[in-house]
């Protein structure tokens, strides 16, 4: 469905648009960054250039379309002012990035408790170098996208840096917007959250294109590339909630890498909403490093037209008495395709692990295709580990019940589909966020092309 299907057929350039010249000019534009960061960039670029593209048959890319992973004809465009409203919820701070650059005017930081830092990575590199160095892209990619993760590290120039000191609780969410503007724009969004001991914070990442995801036949929006990452770190007893809403243009190739580190008695809840892009790969890695750690991993996908959503997850239990709970739900329409590949790893000494993994696919068309690869690797015996995967249509009995109460079939199906999403949204503690996400999903669902 891409503008140039022939491009995929011809031999791929290993670098695409990301030539050494482009990298050199990018380095020149970020020369103010500290030397260690620039060194990391250079090393990452070399790695990116050396690594091959994923190909058919690679186990980490099983069922994924690899022919369409091309990096040609993208550019680093300059930032423009984009009038996109943030998520309509009361918030403690708001940061906006357009084409990798922080928009000063759109950034508001008000009434934050003392010690809380909400700033850009570039500024943190100067003022909070040690913190940044310790947590920024600290976890190696483990889920197959080494090449694209290296691309991200090479080109990421800015992003959000959020630090919550010990014992501080921020009730309202911190909003971060990442916007790609213009045809061919390549963006490298990054959000880094450090929640110190017993702190509590909610961060909402919003990914969008300047032209909102237009549905229907007329336009797919602009062809763009997004290679994003987020690092979440929850120290002892911290409670971190992370929400990502992905609504890139319908012609975007998107990669997003999540790394979550959960320390003793900390709790991280993440919910990713996947709506946009042509082909989107999301890799999520949770490491439960100390007793009492809990990671709740949630995702909702509305896939329609020919969209492909490829979600790969890894829950690593490294210490005894840790818990993880994963629920990924996909609703598929038209010729959409989803892949869920999850793995729970329980290390030999991680006794008393409680791990759960569930993938539910709601099939809403004859041609949609859902693949599930729910995996377990258990090396401790005193554990409770279960996983489940189902793929089916709307329950005909529930449909019939609603129809028997006088509700039209189409309305009944819509209600049941929304009910399917609610199970995930209900896990959110904040009613306001719940409502905002519900609106996003339902709007997308109602607009979605039906063929």
């Amino acid at each position: 469905m891409s503008a140039s299907p022939s491009a995929a057929a011809t031999a791929k350039s290993p670098l695409g648009a990301f030539t050494p010249e482009l990298f050199a000019s990018h380095l020149a534009s970020v020369a103010a960054l500290p030397a260690w960061w620039l060194d990391r960039k250079r090393a990452a670029y070399e790695k990116f250039a050396a690594l091959p593209f994923p190909k058919r048959g690679d186990e980490a890319w099983r069922f994924s379309s690899t022919a369409t992973l091309t990096l040609d004809d993208f550019a680093l465009l300059s930032a423009t002012n984009v009038p996109l409203a943030p998520l309509p919820v009361a918030h403690a701070a708001n940061l906006t990035f357009v084409n990798n650059t922080a928009l000063r005017g759109a950034t508001s930081v008000s009434q934050l408790p003392a010690g809380v830092i909400v700033t850009t990575l570039a500024e943190a590199a100067v003022k909070h170098a040690d913190l940044l160095k310790a947590h920024f892209m600290a976890q190696p990619p483990k889920l197959g996208s080494d090449k694209f993760a290296a691309l991200h590290t090479a080109f990421v120039g800015d992003g959000a840096f959020i630090y919550v000191p010990r014992g501080i609780e921020i009730p309202a969410p911190i909003l971060v917007q990442h916007i790609a503007a213009g045809a061919g724009a390549a963006v490298f969004p990054h959000t880094l959250v450090i929640a110190e001991e017993n702190s509590k914070v909610t961060v909402v990442d919003t990914f969008a294109s300047d032209s909102p995801p237009v549905t229907g036949h007329s336009s797919l929006g602009e062809r763009q590339l997004a290679v994003g990452a987020n690092d979440l770190y929850a120290a002892h007893g911290a409670q971190l909630t992370y929400i990502g809403t992905q609504a890139w243009s319908r012609d975007t190739l998107s990669f997003q890498f999540n790394s979550t580190v959960v320390r003793r008695d900390a709790r991280v809840q993440s919910l990713n909403l996947h709506l946009g892009a042509r082909q989107a790969r999301h890799e999520s890695l949770s490491q439960l490093q100390a007793p009492g750690a809990f990671s709740e991993m949630l995702a909702l996908t509305v896939a329609d037209a020919r969209q492909e959503f490829d979600q790969r997850t890894l829950q690593i239990h490294q210490a005894p008495n840790t818990k993880s709970d994963l629920l990924y739900k996909n609703a598929l329409r038209d010729q959409a395709k989803t892949i869920f590949s999850g793995l729970i790893v329980v290390d030999p000494d991680a006794q008393k692990t409680d791990a759960y993994q569930s993938n539910r696919n709601l099939m809403l068309s004859e041609e949609a295709e859902a693949s599930s690869l729910p995996g377990l690797e258990i090396q401790a015996n005193d554990v409770r580990c279960t996983h489940g995967a189902t793929s089916s249509r709307i329950d005909p009995e529930q449909e019939f019940y609603l129809q028997s109460r006088g509700i039209a079939k189409s309305a009944a199906d819509e209600l049941l589909t929304f009910g399917f999403f609610e199970e995930v949204l209900n896990r959110l503690a904040s009613d306001e966020l719940h409502e905002a996400l519900r609106v996003l999903i339902q709007t997308q669902f109602k607009q979605g092309p039906r063929d």
Partner: protein, 490 residues
């Protein structure tokens, strides 16, 4: 297909090919001391030597007096085997420990290695005793006797099935005497290039069972490889093809619960089942190779309209087993089922699972897999469920449960499920648990030892599956689990 009129082949013990074939061993010059066997092999005139070359394949084919097309088939397969890489990008690296140049690919019938009863390790003897294996069978299973004379015990059953028109021969005979029946399906369910080890088997296969059940015939007793007195049956590279014509039914049993003391370290079988319209095939395997054997087996069935194929698969022995019995559900309302039990003890990796390929409307499949990991044993479930384009009314149910006995036991689950369209239903569930401590405590408090309690609990875990085995198998299975669990506690 017409049932053959000449059924004498069933009653005749297989001819000793070696005695009839004067072809000298073309690879006699190679150093045969490289083999894994500890007894002299030079005296066996019909030994293909160690290592695998085109000559080895030609030799096997000439000893078997095969038609030229079979030799071509073997040679092509050999090339495929060489071309294919080891599947270590997803499978265990342990596969790299196989040295193909040190393996003996063919010893003709009657020329099997001989050892004396005294040479059989004591633990094997003890196990036979505990399992209550008949004296005569013990010697055969231990490799003391090349042939196990089952004529007396089982000829009765053979007569009965022969009267029904059932053909039950080995692979050589099947292809030589009944090509009109077997050739059309041979290598069709599992193509040579399916995987590296199916290619290897296609190049060097010998032994195994070729069975044809005519239309509408329901074979009352389970057929067992045991029935035939051919030692090749338990060979390394057996090839089995079972064709069940329209409306026919058959149950086939392979292996037995007693440990098989094998001198060869690689076993790679190919088993193909064809169930024509409305036919039913049940294939029961109990695998208990010695703990030095790589058991890399490809098993698949093709189920036509309203046919039913059921694999009951139990893996207890071997160092590494990789086996994923599959069913291709080709005709409307076909049904496939895999019941799998795996027990992995120290030094063992049971990498088993199932494949269900739905290719027609209203096909249904069911997979129930239970594994037990003891000590440092590792059990893996790997599965594929595939429901491709535009089918409707397909259903799959998969359940896999793993039981971990010791704190360092390991289990993995790697299913892959693809569903297309909104008219199919798939559900997969897996769980991992350990034996309930309260349950063990309760039993101990009633006077059982910890070991007894543990084996009772493990037997309870697989009880619903074990009940699907024929009675004598499930009894032996229970005793075997008792044995395996003895050393696991305390």
């Amino acid at each position: 297909m017409n049932p053959p009129t000449d059924l004498d082949t069933l009653a005749t013990p297989e001819l000793d090919e070696a005695a009839l074939n004067p072809t000298p061993n073309p690879v006699a010059g190679i150093d045969q001391t490289k083999g894994d066997f500890s007894y002299p092999v030079a005296q066996y005139a019909f030994d293909a030597g160690t290592g695998l070359t085109e000559d080895t394949v030609r030799y096997i084919s000439s000893v078997k007096k095969e038609a030229p097309w079979i030799l071509d088939f073997r040679l092509k397969a050999l090339k495929t085997f060489w071309d294919k890489p080891m599947p270590t990008h997803w499978a265990t690296k342990d596969l790299e420990a196989i040295d193909f140049s040190k393996i003996r690919y063919y010893l003709s019938q009657g020329q099997k290695p001989k050892r004396t009863w005294e040479e059989v390790p004591d633990d094997i003897k003890k196990t036979f005793e505990r399992l209550g294996i008949p004296e005569q069978e013990r010697k055969f299973l231990a490799g003391v006797e090349a042939q196990f004379d089952s004529e007396a015990a089982y000829s009765n059953i053979k007569d009965v099935v022969a009267k029904q028109g059932v053909i039950f021969v080995n692979s050589t005979e099947g292809l030589r005497e009944h090509p009109e029946i077997f050739r059309q399906w041979f290598g069709k369910v599992i193509p040579t290039g399916d995987n590296k080890f199916s290619a290897l088997n296609s190049a060097v296969f010998s032994g195994g069972s070729f069975i044809y059940v005519p239309k509408g015939v329901k074979v009352a007793q389970p057929l067992q490889a045991y029935f035939r007195i051919n030692a090749e049956n338990f060979g390394q590279f057996e090839r089995t093809l079972i064709i069940c014509d329209e409306g026919a039914e058959v149950v086939y049993m392979e292996g037995c619960t007693a440990p098989k003391f094998s001198t060869s370290t690689l076993h790679s079988a190919v088993v193909e089942l064809v169930a024509l319209k409305g036919a039913k095939i049940q294939y029961i395997t109990v695998q208990n190779w010695a703990n030095n054997v790589f058991n890399l087996v490809t098993k698949r069935g093709l189920a036509h309209e309203e046919a039913e194929i059921k694999w009951i698969d139990c893996n207890i022995g071997s160092r590494l087993t990789m086996k994923y019995p599959g069913v291709i559900l080709k005709g409307r309302k076909a049904r496939g089922e895999v019941i799998s039990i795996a027990l992995a003890n120290d030094g063992q990796h049971q990498d088993t699972g199932a494949k269900m390929i739905h290719a027609a409307d209203e096909t249904t499949s069911n997979i129930v897999a239970k594994s037990i990991s003891v000590g440092q044993g590792r059990s893996t479930y790997r599965g594929v469920v595939h429901i491709p384009k535009h089918l409707k009314g397909c259903k799959n149910n998969t359940e896999c449960d793993a039981l971990l006995i010791n704190s360092n036991s390991r289990t993995d689950t790697y299913p892959a499920i693809t569903v297309r369209g909104d008219r199919n239903y798939v559900q997969h569930e897996a769980s991992v648990s350990k034996v309930n401590e309260e349950m063990i405590f309760y039993m101990q408090q009633r006077g059982l030892t910890e070991g007894q309690a543990m084996s009772l609990a493990v037997n309870g875990f697989i009880n619903d599956l074990a009940r699907q085995f024929p009675m004598e198998y499930s009894v032996e299975l229970k005793r075997l689990i008792d044995l395996e669990m003895e050393g696991s506690v305390g």
